[in-house]
Amino acid sequence: MAGKTLYDKLWDAHVVRTDANGTVLLYIDRHLVHEVTSPQAFGGLQLAGRQPWRRDSMVAMPDHNTPTTPGFTSIDDPVSRLQVETLDDNAHRYDLRYFPIGDPRRGIVHVVGPEQGATLPGMTVVCGDSHTSTHGAFAALAFGIGTSEVEHVMATQCLIQKKSKAMEVRVEGEVGEGVSAKDIVLAIIGQIGAAGGTGYAIEFTGEAIRALSMEGRMTVCNMAIEAGARSGMIAVDEATIEYVRNRAFAPVGDLWPRAVAAWRELHSDSDALFDRVITLDATIIKPQVTWGTSPEMVAAVDQRIPDPALESDPIKRSGMERALQYMGLQPNMPIVDIQLDRVFIGSCTNGRIEDLRAAAAVIQGRTVAPSLKQALVVPGSGLVKRQAETEGLDRIFKKAGFEWREPGCSMCLAMNADQLLPSEHCAATSNRNFEGRQGPGGRTHLVSPAMAAAAAIAGHFVDVRTF
């Protein structure tokens, strides 16, 4: 019999019961909660007269709607304010672990969870947010759920699930200078497509993945969902254990060595079989830029925008034509000729300290192009912001002409005031380039933090490797 994949191990350890048709009741260890997808779930719980099954599994914070303007004291938009206040009320009513506005630890739930050690190897982690796949970087089984499932986890600590298939995405070799985790994952999505991982749990393996910091691994797993996979994961190694050590929620005392011993088993066995294996050569991955309205519409910075006329699949061709029309771009145009209006550095994909360091390293001593309307840095959490300020990164950004903001989801999805205007092009370190994602009519290009920084200086895309 073949060995187990990491996914098999995580799955098997959380099965409460299996029904005759293979439907499983899966136990959930950690439930992260934010203001947008939880109010109807709390409402349902109250309506049914139920209590949370295990309230200490829940960690809550507002992030999607929160303003990022320095020193803000309240939310101007009354609808957003009510949503955040509703989370305040629910956190209070159920006595949840809560990082409200004003708490220095507050930030994007997928940045704060790992930062606090609320995400641990071997856990099942869910949140009413598709980017919950981020936490798989810790060899956790982590996936996004809808509001009905949020209520289900609150009420039962379980989800009704069927096992996915397992895919290995192996990235062999070393990436070159100037090529980051973001470029790796965009290249993966470009290869397998936005639906390539649908129905699968992806394990990322190979030398290029092992070489990444935990921040980089989170970036890769974060975008597993953009390849269609609800969960992405990476095996435990020393980097995982060192990241978790001494975090606020991490085990202490006698439990620490016991936990570490268990965590060291969290890898696929050498004879494990995957349903599908994809291999990429890291040495040929270049900095990536998306040109369309799906993350799979991506090209290397030194390439040209593809010509739909050369696409044989009629559905893909019409999708490309529609995307180019929306983006206001022409086939065969060099990527570096795309002129930008705004630059956004932040999000659960690239709002961590390493991302800010990479961007600041490019920016140091340079100035934002005068043609840009705005260049924004939004740290992923209050602690990332504080760390960056300790290192003086905020001064580098501000001196160059960037705005230095308070943490939150911000212009990744533009639920707060940080938005693109129609037809504006934005170099964004976030995860989705969908129509209207960053504001109605806005045109998003997904890139790494270093590429976004270089683009901010130049006013158009440039190859950061030679910048």
Binding site: L25, Y27, E149, I160, A195, I315
Partner: protein, 212 residues
């Protein structure tokens, strides 16, 4: 949960692949703390010529005449026919609530994004996966035939055209039974409360750091 058994419904085509949940219900409408009030804003940016904000009277807004849902022949449609990877992106269940409130009871596509697929059952919206070739055929027939209706029968797991040709579809047995019977799955899970507690006791021994 809302019951789904058999549906005979008018088909509206949406001939795009990778329709994401941001397009199904844009972010400004997610600020609501209610489960209702999303139907008027379904596909807001594709459906209206102006920019939508919460609280507007959608009946007064200018429509994009070329968008399929706005065309007179598709008024009253309850079956959405679309392309692969429908519902990709954000986990927002508001997308399902918006479709449901608009009157869509069934979405037919060659494939669905996983989270949307799971969410849809919770509101009694049936996602039906059919082969690309079959979907192509349904697109051709529905566009050529005004008033084109399909019969979606869950107990027999078939989609039947006006010509009487039936296409079978697969569905997980548990989900099927939940839809046919309108079961509340939280209630179902709580029947196993003893097993959940037993699991927790075992895990507190094996790996107590996971339950802290």
């Amino acid at each position: 949960m809302k019951v789904f058994n058999q549906l005979k419904g008018l088909v509206v085509p949406l001939d795009r692949a990778n329709v994401d949940t941001d397009a199904i219900i844009p972010k400004q409408f997610l600020k609501s703390i209610k489960r209702i009030g999303f139907g008027g804003n379904l596909f807001d940016e594709w459906r209206y010529l102006d920019h939508g904000e919460p609280g507007q009277d959608c009946a007064q807004r200018p429509l994009r005449p070329d968008f399929s849902l706005n065309q007179p022949r598709y008024q009253g449609a309850s079956i959405l026919l679309t392309r692969e990877n429908f519902g990709c992106g954000s986990s927002r269940e508001h997308a399902v609530w918006a479709l449901d409130e608009y009157g869509i009871r069934c979405v037919i596509a060659p494939s669905f994004a996983d989270i949307f697929f799971t969410n849809s059952f919770k509101s009694g919206l049936l996602p039906v996966v059919l082969d690309t070739q079959v979907v192509d055929r349904l697109f051709c027939e529905s566009e050529a035939t005004p008033g084109y209706r399909l019969i979606v029968d869950l107990p027999t797991q078939t989609v039947t055209t006006p010509d009487g040709i039936s296409f079978p579809f697969a569905i997980d047995e548990f989900r099927k039974q939940c839809l046919i019977n309108g079961w509340d799955d939280i209630g179902l899970t709580l029947r196993h409360a003893d097993e959940i507690r037993a699991y927790e006791i075992r895990r507190r021994e094996e790996a107590p750091w996971l339950l802290a």
